[in-house]
């Protein structure tokens, strides 16, 4: 790969300086936090965090975004990373403690101040309500894949970024709520494991139905890719079939993987509770918000 090709790949197709700054700021805080804490058990979390953060950056601010704009199945892959994989890995790594350790004092203070403002705290609680969270998660997928909405979103520079960023933010909210390892009830948005598993399985069938509909359709559902031209020659129906499969299978599998992780949390909670009931038993280290579940 020549230098000019590398430059072409890392250059954002549509640069959003503020977005690059946000990613850089978060990464810098995280690295600084890691260095300050110097804890060996942070390593696995750090790998998960950087794969999540890096993949979200790559699909938005490199040449990959060009292909995502002009190829349906790559667009679906982009959203799989923005809405499922990237946020999933970030939430799983529970980066709050490391980020807080690395962030400058003023940033920690203002983040805490803003987070505690009643309207913000209230909005967050509403968004993390299991029903609303599930509706948002599935609703956003359906909304942006509604053919008329999708058409405009791919044509309008503004709507395109509203679409991608809304997927990223909702993905973070959803998986943050899902993969909270703390004992249920620790915070107002830490719901019981059983309830979270119900939500995970509730969001699966609608994604399967939509993905299957797209993958099995014998007509072009999204004509915007013909309108705008494809990035490389591929049969429109094959493009659509692969895109449908990406919407269908990996997306639904995420719910299964998350269920297994939640069950692991539930066992850990129970073990801790049992150990606390018998004070003479040897205490295993409690689950720490910053630790990666192994």
């Amino acid at each position: 790969m020549s230098l000019s090709e590398i430059v072409r790949w890392v250059t954002p197709w549509e640069p959003l300086p503020w977005l690059i700054a946000v990613f850089a700021g978060v990464a810098a805080c995280y690295v600084r936090g890691l260095v300050r804490r110097r804890r060996a058990r942070d390593v696995v979390s750090a790998i998960a965090f950087f794969i999540g953060l890096g993949s979200m950056y790559v699909v938005m601010q490199t040449y990959v975004d060009y292909y995502a704009q002009y190829m349906f199945f790559i667009h679906r892959g982009q959203h799989l990373i923005l809405h499922h994989l990237g946020p999933f890995l970030i939430a799983l790594s529970m980066p709050t403690a490391i980020l807080a350790a690395g962030a400058p004092v003023w940033l920690n203070r203002s983040a805490r101040f803003v987070g505690e403002l009643p309207p913000i705290a209230f909005t967050y609680r509403v968004l993390q309500h299991p029903l609303i969270s599930a509706l948002l998660f599935v609703g956003l997928i359906y909304f942006w894949l509604w053919p008329a909405v999708h058409f405009t979103a791919m044509l309008s520079a503004r709507d395109y970024w509203v679409m991608n960023l809304s997927m990223a933010v909702d993905g973070l909210l959803f998986w943050w709520f899902m993969l909270d390892p703390r004992r249920p009830g620790t915070t107002k948005t830490t719901y019981s494991v059983g309830l979270r598993i119900i939500v995970l399985w509730a969001v699966m069938p609608p994604q399967i139905v939509l993905g299957a509909y797209i993958a099995l359709a014998d007509h072009t559902v999204y004509d915007v890719y013909a309108v705008c031209g494809r990035a490389f020659p591929i049969s429109p129906i094959v493009d659509q079939q692969i895109g449908g499969l990406i919407t269908w299978i990996p997306a639904a599998m995420m719910s299964v993987v998350a269920t297994l992780i939640l069950l692991r949390f539930a066992f850990a909670h129970e073990r801790n509770a049992a150990n606390q009931a018998k004070p003479d038993a040897r205490m295993p280290p409690p689950i720490h918000p910053g630790s990666f579940p192994t």
Binding site: H129, I132, D159, V227, G229, P233
Partner: protein, 211 residues
């Protein structure tokens, strides 16, 4: 679970609000067969070279409704078919109406499409058809502005290669504002109706796109 307050009323309120937003947008916008993309894309702007080899920009099209299409003269199917559909649709209008239209054919294959070649191609469709092309940089800037792309296939033994390009016609009003996006599967009659509807709604004041 019961100690967690579930703001059920809120989810209901949000649902009702969303519904109101969705249904409340009914308006008197004209009905088109094509996609109405008013305000979705930026105004017409470009720097190209016309089929006489002279520089061409959007000002040359001010005051007329402009139909813009991306293609290449070696195109085996979509480009000649689209040009023919535009000619047929314009042919269905009366003389006064037809005078208000310009057709801009943008070749995305400047390697093979010399101004002479483009001129031969466009004049075969009529005097309102203007052909243009440009450097790769100019063409990329224009195609990116309208969020379309193009690409080149592998040349065969005779050096012939296919070019993938947008299949749509972009329609701009006399002020250069984007109005319609016409699919390749829209019929000639459908296109003619749309052009007539657009003529009737030219005075609709629309905020200029700010993107």
């Amino acid at each position: 679970m019961s100690r967690i307050p579930l703001p059920r009323r809120l989810s209901l309120t949000i649902g009702v609000l969303a519904l109101a937003l969705l249904t409340g947008c009914g308006s008197d916008a004209p009905e088109y067969n094509a996609h109405d993309i008013e305000g979705v894309m930026p105004d017409l702007a470009f720097n190209l070279t016309d089929d006489d080899g002279k520089p061409l920009d959007a000002d040359d099209f001010a005051g007329d409704i402009t139909l813009m299409f991306f293609g290449y003269t070696n195109c085996p199917d979509i480009c000649p078919a689209t040009m023919a559909r535009i000619r047929a649709a314009l042919g269905g209008l009366n003389d006064d109406q037809r005078k208000r239209f310009d057709v801009l054919f943008v070749s995305v294959d400047p390697e093979r499409d010399t101004p002479e070649r483009i001129e031969r191609f466009t004049t075969s469709f009529g005097p309102d058809f203007v052909g243009a092309t440009g450097t790769q940089e100019q063409l990329k800037r224009l195609s990116k502005r309208y969020r379309v792309t193009y690409g080149y296939g592998e040349p065969n033994d005779n050096g012939f290669y296919l070019v993938s390009h947008s299949s749509a016609i972009f329609v701009f009003d006399p002020k250069g504002r984007v109005r319609l996006l016409v699919n390749q599967n829209e019929s000639v009659d459908g296109l003619r109706q749309d052009l007539e509807t657009l003529l009737d709604h030219l005075d609709d004041t629309a905020p200029a796109a700010n993107t």
